[in-house]
Symmetry: C2
Subunit: 191 residues, 2 copies
Amino acid sequence: MFTKFRNKFPISDERWIEYTSYFNRIEAPAKTTLLEEGEVSKKLFIIEKGCIRVWFNNNGKDLTTQFFFENQSVASIESFIKQFPSPVVIETIEPSVIWWISKNDMDKILEEVKEIPELRDRFIDMIFQRTFDYIRHFVSFIKDSPTQRYLTLIEEKPQIIQRVPQHYLASYLGVSTVHLSRIKSKLVHKK
Amino acid sequence: MFTKFRNKFPISDERWIEYTSYFNRIEAPAKTTLLEEGEVSKKLFIIEKGCIRVWFNNNGKDLTTQFFFENQSVASIESFIKQFPSPVVIETIEPSVIWWISKNDMDKILEEVKEIPELRDRFIDMIFQRTFDYIRHFVSFIKDSPTQRYLTLIEEKPQIIQRVPQHYLASYLGVSTVHLSRIKSKLVHKK
DNA sequence: TTTATTTGATAACAAATGTTATCGTTGGCG
DNA sequence: CGCCAACGATAACATTTGTTATCAAATAAA
């Protein structure tokens, strides 16, 4: 699982073995809750196989905010970093193989990583990149119609369309399930 | 302008004097463009007095994505960091007093700051905090009605309501100017 | 002051989107 | 294999929101 990343970490073999040993492998069936609402996040997940969504309950409505797939890392990020109760639930969509690392071990790695200029800069770049992604995402709500957001998703993240049940997709796009169905239907008939 | 921040920077007086000398003061009337669309961002701004908005032209429509006030720093962030053409315009709303620092000088400071653990961690925290803010912002588009978003804004960022012309606010909230007017009117009559 | 520009409210109508309900299909599981 | 739950499509109707146009008020500039 981790060997493919080895060349990206200019650290000693000893460190590498230590760091990778921090990770724990689990297999989770579909619809397994990995983090509950209100729970303080103690684990960061990395997906080897499968697919995860982040969602929360808003007055009885199930609203999905993000999807994650193979090789992506997932956490209730603000909860993980600040050790607040998580406002969101993390849940598998498909049966998944997942590796997790504890907050403590992750902090240990980060402390050391921050002293290595190359890794530290990559870490900072990563955070910035996430920020840019979120900016694009919220701008799309100001700029685009739901139909346009759907088309953009097909272009940019086809995995989501292909692997995620449509009713999860709807709230992610900010529309009702019925309306998403209508959007698809209109697109088909226009063609 | 900068002395009030002095105690937050555990660096030598020499460094402090050097760093603050990088900044340039300008006074700009209302509706001054500080960065044009398509221009590569070379300056980071800090607002001493006044108010700035970030916006872009979308098929002839003026869409505002952010507002900034006293003591906040502003840039077309992705453009500033990656040196891409900026997709957005940065413009004063009120007559403003602004300090700017060049990309080069800022990079110089950052390189040194990254070696000071306390400052480096504060810098990373700042980036994370911005990320969290953007997450909250986009979640509000999934979760809340425009009316609710307006009410939340009154609670959390009253400055925006008080100082920003309403038609800029509308696109920020993701509605038309007419509809924002309706929202206000309904709220008044319900009370 | 006078005038032009900016800003905001409102009405009337059109379009988009939500809600509720029904039905058919699919796929996992006993 | 058969059943049940999950999923998605569709219709009918209600509500929200956008568009265009007009007018009034406030503000800035001449």
